[in-house]
């Protein structure tokens, strides 16, 4: 799978989840030779978009990775949230088994898109990173 195809599939997934660019809903995309083009709803033409600027935008990451909360340690969304009397959230990760109340910490759950965006930056190869999610 070449990088244009990965990029295009990723952007199309984000479009399906309501992707916005400069306040306008994006309705179509194309990728060619490492360049990305997006078509906003209010335009008849495609706009060239710098790839990293776009991939690391909050709008793209929210639409692509989702806004669920995840374990801040392992990124799993298999998190069990328990009722308690305090204002702090009690939670346990079913994958890495971290138990927030047992650990006595106030480690907070993370948004999935923020967690993944950081991982994508740490990977050094954002397009290959996206491949794991399409």
């Amino acid at each position: 799978m070449n990088s244009d195809l990965i990029l295009l599939d990723s952007v199309k997934m984000a479009i399906d989840n309501n992707l916005y660019l400069d306040g306008q809903k994006v309705i179509d995309a194309s990728a060619n030779d490492g360049c990305l083009f997006l078509k906003p709803a209010n335009s008849n033409t495609f706009q060239a978009v710098p790839i990293y600027q776009f991939l690391f935008s909050h709008n793209f990451c929210k639409a692509f990775f989702g806004t669920l909360v995840v374990c801040p340690l392992c990124g799993s969304d298999h998190v069990e949230i328990r009722d308690n009397d305090s204002t702090e959230l009690d939670w346990e990760c079913n994958d890495c088994k971290y138990d927030n109340s047992r650990a006595g910490s106030n480690l907070k759950l993370a948004y999935q898109w923020l967690y993944r965006m950081r991982e994508m930056a740490a990977s050094g190869d954002p397009i290959s990173y996206l491949k794991g999610f399409i």
């Binding site: 710098p50 790839i51 990293y52 690391f56 965006m117 950081r118 994508m120 930056a121 740490a122």
Partner: protein
């Protein structure tokens, strides 16, 4: 300081710390695209060489709406 001034100074700092800037040729006559530079690992390693822990700083930068502003305080 404008974005272009910040990124120009940031590139200069990274270059002094050993960044090979030949990759900038890909931008040709176009203005730099800051994000295309900031998120390169070779840039981050060179830019935060003195401060250390470049990955931590990269993680902090990516969380900002305008990551370039995070670089400003290290110039």
């Amino acid at each position: 300081m404008t974005e272009i001034e910040i990124i120009t100074k940031a590139i200069r700092k990274a270059e002094v710390n050993g960044l090979d800037t030949r990759f900038l040729y890909q931008f040709g006559e176009d203005p730099y695209y800051p994000m295309e530079i900031i998120f390169r690992h070779d840039f981050a390693k060179a830019f935060w060489k003195k401060e250390g822990n470049w990955k931590y700083h990269l993680m902090q930068a990516v969380l900002k709406r305008k990551p370039i502003n995070y670089l400003k305080k290290f110039l």
